[in-house]
């Protein structure tokens, strides 16, 4: 067994060495991510080559079943692949809410027909998904979503509004929480549905953030027809699917905490010895978080993690990432505060401001602490 794993590591290392273009091993910014989709275009030939090579082995989703086009790797091999990619700083070949969020929920709750229809295009990067969760009146209190899905026999008619929908203006399909039973208690009247963003009545409007960028949108539904076959899981029990998916989303967001501050360290002990101390203490936490992330991922993939542990990881990881950006800004001084010009044309400041959203999106830090207190520590409810 151990020999097999050693052999797998050896082969994987060699394969990555010859298939991962050097350009795909350089540090990346948000603009370097490949998201696929109907309108997806590769930034350059290296990105295309890398994506296609990984796809040929099913490694855009290394641990998904091979029957849908995934890599079929067991947790130990999937970990080896992650380690070997990380060793050469290989970029992920495909960024996708389909992979990080919807896919795991479909694998657990979807019908065979839904899996066969939706998973292969996610794996191949052909369909780009967005998440219709938050609404103007349903933020931390997500279960109070008010978007209505009215039963019209063989289909629903959906009316309402979502907000903070990441990249809704670039997405092909949406997975969406809608209220199918307005008379039931709020957690028991929600359904989880999928529909094409090209359906008549769907419109989006990007929201300009403090960073100056617009990754989030308002999404409007005006008499949108959704076939009944697009329901995932049980009718009115969409909250179960939503929560399961949130676990994966939180795991994804917690990875924000994996960043380092090393690149900003030149001469800092002379200029600002107190900042050096703060950075040193940050480095301790960052290293501990890397270990924690490894442990959590191992437990998570093996199905051994407490279902609420992703809340703890999300809380710790995002608070850490915010602290990292505060240190980067402090170390960078006026250069980092630049909004235009300079070598990075405001990228530091934008990344710093963007990081403030980490502890809000996917459930605020305070919501995560509520969940940990209740579900892991078994503290009493009020």
């Amino acid at each position: 067994m151990t020999d097999d794993l050693t052999q797998f590591r050896k082969e994987t290392r060699a394969w990555l060495q010859s298939n991962c273009p050097l350009q795909m091993r350089e540090p990346q910014t948000d603009e370097d991510l490949y998201w696929g989709g109907r309108d997806g275009a590769f930034a350059n030939s290296a990105q295309k080559q890398w994506f296609e090579a990984m796809l040929s082995r099913g490694w855009t989703t290394p641990d998904w079943p091979t029957e849908y086009g995934g890599g079929g790797l067991d947790p130990e091999r999937a970990k080896i692949l992650r380690e070997e990619m990380s060793r050469i700083n290989a970029r992920p070949p495909l960024s996708s809410f389909g992979i990080w969020m919807l896919g795991p929920a479909l694998l657990k709750y979807g019908t065979e027909e839904q899996k066969r229809y939706h998973l292969p295009p996610i794996i191949r990067g052909e369909i780009r998904w967005c998440q219709g969760y938050s609404e103007p009146g349903a933020g931390s209190d997500l279960a109070s979503v008010a978007t209505r899905a009215e039963d019209k026999g063989d289909h629903w008619v959906v009316n309402g509004q979502k907000i903070w929908t990441s990249y809704a203006n670039k997405a092909d399909w949406i997975f969406c929480l809608v209220r199918t039973d307005p008379t039931a208690p709020k957690h028991l009247g929600i359904s989880f549905v999928l529909f094409d963003m090209r359906t008549p009545g769907v419109s989006t409007r990007p929201i300009r953030l403090i960073s100056g960028n617009s990754p989030f949108c308002e999404t409007f539904f005006d008499d949108v027809v959704v076939p009944k076959g697009n329901l995932v899981g049980t009718l009115h029990r969409g909250w179960d699917v939503a929560k399961y998916l949130l676990g994966h989303e939180r795991e994804m967001i917690s990875a924000m905490g994996l960043g380092e501050v090393e690149s900003i360290t030149t001469g800092i002990s002379e200029i600002d010895p107190l900042l050096r101390s703060q950075m040193a203490l940050f480095d301790v936490r960052a290293a501990a978080f890397r270990a924690c992330s490894e442990l959590f991922l191992d437990e998570f993939r093996a199905g051994r993690a407490h279902p609420a542990k992703s809340s703890m990881m999300k809380y710790v990881g995002t608070e850490l990432n915010k602290a990292r950006h505060e240190l980067l800004m402090s170390a960078g001084g006026f250069e980092a505060a630049r909004w235009s010009g300079g070598s990075d044309a405001g990228a530091s400041a934008q990344a710093w401001l963007r990081s403030k959203g980490n502890s809000i999106e996917g459930g605020t830090s305070e919501v995560q602490l509520n969940i940990v207190a209740k579900r892991i520590l078994s503290l009493p409810s009020t």
């Binding site: 002990s269 050096r276 490894e294 442990l295 437990e299 703890m312 995560q368 503290l379 009493p380």
Partner: protein, 374 residues
């Protein structure tokens, strides 16, 4: 390989916890303290640790041990931490064993089997000041016909007063490579002054006055002694970190149970969000530290080139997490937490000493920054 414990390690954890929960719970420590026990430990318990194999984890099989690793040694250390058990296991079965198994001379065969059996106790005499500074060695070892003559002092050495063997760092001249000497406590020219720390543990200041040490008592590793000293320190730092995790768990369990039970304003105080958030934050901090300690143990066992860095991180974060656990523990217990009768205060006192032992958070964060190039 997944980072979590495998089945055998999980079994060992159950065994170790079961053993110390039953035979050496906090009341055991309290009993030794109240009786002003001169040894500060129960020799009978130490012998039974040998029977259970707890002293043998890091001893190679050819020397009568189990040939396991730092993960296993840490599991036992964690069980000790949960129960605040006074035990020379850290210095003996982790520090002492890592030192002695590297010896190329008879020291190895002479001492390792005795440690394995739970007979011999080892103390690490590596500090000369009040703060951890293992590089500052002024204890002088002058060449002598039969070996070396020691002059100088070591301070705050845990369990030295009951140790069969002292592992002592010295230098032949300022700036010279450090030496490690394995000296029996009864050697002529050694005097000890033993005192109690806040956690009721006993530490000794040791004076060396023309103490003659024979050549055979010089610890001769295959490579340089400085590297061996670093190896020993890595091992005891990670071991102390594991003990701190156990301690933090013990403090948290008591505190969270209190939050669930204690009623004020007609409700359990654990239903207040102000306390829930602090409790959940604390849980996250301890989980962070637990993973860092596990990672460091694995890196030590794998002989990774990065193991010193992982050891620094583990000790730094475990000290911090345990400190938070006991501070929140006493505060959340309210008035009862301030009493000697309640155990939570004992956790606070032990955490203070363990946080200091082999380098506190600031010490290791500072070193980490230097290693990281700033």
């Amino acid at each position: 390989m997944p980072l979590y414990h495998d089945d055998e390690q999980t079994m060992l954890q159950d065994t170790a916890r079961g053993f110390f929960d039953e035979h050496a719970p906090v009341s055991h420590m309290r009993g030794l303290r109240d009786a002003k026990d001169p040894a500060g430990i129960a020799h009978e318990l130490w012998r039974r640790c040998g029977e259970m194999g707890f002293t043998m984890a890091l001893i190679p099989e050819e020397d009568g041990g189990l040939g396991l690793g730092h993960v296993e040694a840490g599991i036992v250390q964690e069980a000790i931490g949960r129960n605040l058990t006074p035990s020379p296991l850290l210095a003996t079965a982790i520090g002492g064993v890592v030192a002695l198994r590297a010896a190329t001379n008879d020291l190895r065969t002479e001492w390792l089997p005795r440690i394995a059996e739970g007979v011999a106790i080892v103390a690490l005499a590596l500090e000369e000041g009040s703060k951890h500074a293992p590089d500052q060695i002024t204890l002088k070892a002058c060449k002598h016909a039969d070996g070396f003559v020691l002059n100088g002092a070591k301070r705050f050495v845990p369990h030295a007063h009951i140790a069969d063997l002292l592992i002592v760092s010295a230098r032949s001249s300022p700036g010279a490579e450090p030496m490690l000497l394995a000296v029996t406590r009864e050697t002529t020219g050694i005097t000890m002054r033993t005192q109690q720390l806040a956690d009721a543990s006993l530490v000794s200041d040791i004076e060396f006055d023309d103490t003659v040490v024979e050549h055979s008592n010089v610890l001769v590793p295959p490579r340089d002694t400085g590297a061996l000293l670093e190896e020993i320190l890595n091992a005891v730092r990670v071991g102390a970190a594991a003990e701190l995790i156990g301690l933090a768990d013990g403090a948290m369990e008591r505190t969270f149970a209190y939050l669930r039970d204690r009623k004020q304003f007609g409700v359990e105080i654990g239903s207040f969000q102000a306390l829930q958030h602090r409790a959940a934050h604390l849980y996250g901090e301890v989980e962070l530290a637990r993973a860092a300690v596990l990672k460091a143990q694995r890196e030590l066992d794998g002989g990774s080139g990065d193991r010193s860095r992982h050891a620094m991180v583990a000790k730094a974060i475990a000290s911090q997490a345990a400190t938070l656990a006991v501070q929140e523990g006493v505060q959340m217990h309210g008035g009862i937490g301030m009493t000697d009768e309640h155990d939570i205060g004992l956790f606070m006192k032990r955490a203070r000493v363990l946080a200091e032992l082999y380098g506190d958070t600031n010490y290791h964060a500072h070193r980490l920054a230097s290693v990281n190039g700033y």
